[in-house]
């Protein structure tokens, strides 16, 4: 048996199922408001937690990690939950981030407990570092968004459509950014070579 937890609505202003009015009520000690909040959002938290735990083979821990998330939301008189700002993010998105973070912490704790660093092959411990050179591209040559688009296209091998979804912009804008950024970089490095060259 399970409880369906709606996510599509996502309306934090409705006052039903975990809206602003309900949040105020549960902060005031209304247990029924808390029950509605849980009923409405348990599925989001559970899904975010499982998404992290299942690939790590720890799906059995999902229930405990959900409890951990609930504990984080409630502790110190709902300090974390009071931090939620409906103007800045949807409740479901915010809860997904919080639940994901709790699951990552859980896996990290388990890894610390069970892994002996000495027994790990070097390949596991190796990280793929971004090697920062002392020479820097000039500030303003690329905008952070152009850099992110290049990172998604080249390092993550995404299509312009996929990159657009991550950044939250139009695929055509991604294509245009890609093109402009390469033009700028080409010009910059050519000038650099021209200056450094014989």
């Amino acid at each position: 048996m399970g409880f369906a937890a709606a996510v599509g609505s996502d309306d934090v202003k409705t006052g039903s199922g975990g809206g602003d009015a309900d949040l105020d009520a549960l902060f005031q000690g209304d247990k029924a408001a808390w029950d509605r909040f849980v009923l409405h959002h348990a599925g989001v938290i559970f899904a975010a937690v499982r998404r992290r735990l299942v690939p790590a083979g720890r799906s059995a821990d999902a229930e405990d990690v959900v409890q951990d998330v609930v504990g984080r939301l409630c502790q110190h008189d709902f300090r974390l939950l009071r931090n939620y700002d409906a103007a800045r993010a949807k409740m479901t998105t915010w809860l997904t981030v919080v639940a994901n973070s709790a699951a990552v912490d859980h896996l990290r704790r388990l890894r610390r407990r069970t892994e002996d660093i000495e027994t790990q092959p070097e390949s596991v411990l190796a990280v793929d570092p971004v090697i920062h050179e002392t020479v820097k591209i000039p500030d303003g040559l690329l905008s952070p968004r152009q850099a992110l688009v290049l990172e998604l296209l080249y390092q993550r091998d995404m299509t312009p459509g996929e990159a657009a979804e991550v950044v939250g912009i139009d695929p055509q804008t991604v294509r245009s950014m890609h093109h402009k950024a390469l033009v700028k970089l080409r010009a910059h490095f050519q000038a650099e070579l021209g200056e450094d060259g014989p």
Partner: protein, 178 residues
């Protein structure tokens, strides 16, 4: 496919070179630690102010681990919610910490006078309570010792009577009389 769609080898080489030379200011942003939930959620929902989004994007371009997190979150949101088992819901509902008003009363600090009196009485009484307990224990021990001694004397007397006394009196009777 348009020219902008083409991810060329040259483009990849240019970006490889550029990403190793990202501006110092962007790299310093990583010193702020992990971005908080509201910031990441706001970015995922496209609700951040332009400057906030730019700061986060500068970090995302240079911090592969942070970009991994963002991509994982995006995938989780795209996948949507699951049906939570009943036990998860009931346990979560039972975790409600209670009414803040009651908790406030429980943790309310006494007034200055109350604290002063309480401290004074507590300070005066605490050693007295210990002393009384020690005295009671001592008295108890002494009483038990005296009682034991008395009973031993009685037993001694009775035994002597049984050994030396009148043969008409059965020994069992005398002893059972104790």
């Amino acid at each position: 496919m348009s020219e902008e769609d083409n991810k060329s080898k040259q483009g990849a080489a240019l970006w490889r070179r550029a990403r190793a030379q990202l501006p110092e200011d962007w790299q310093r942003l990583a010193d702020d630690g992990a971005p908080d939930a509201t910031l990441l959620a706001g970015y995922l929902d496209g609700r951040l102010a332009e400057d906030e989004a730019a700061r986060l994007e500068a970090r995302l371009a240079g911090e592969p681990a942070l970009l991994d997190e963002l991509l994982a979150l995006r995938a989780a949101l795209d996948a949507g919610a699951e049906t939570a088992p009943a036990t998860v819901v009931t346990r979560a509902q039972a975790a409600y910490p209670g009414r803040p008003a009651l908790r406030a009363v429980a943790s309310e600090k006494p007034s200055l006078l109350g604290r002063l009196l309480g401290g004074l009485v507590g300070f005066q009484l605490r050693p007295a309570v210990s002393a009384l307990a020690a005295a009671a224990l001592l008295l108890g021990c002494a009483g038990a010792f005296e009682l034991g001694r008395y009973q031993a004397q009685q037993l001694d007397t009775t035994t002597q009577l049984a050994e030396t006394g009148d043969s008409d009196v059965p020994v069992e009777f005398v002893i059972s009389g104790l």
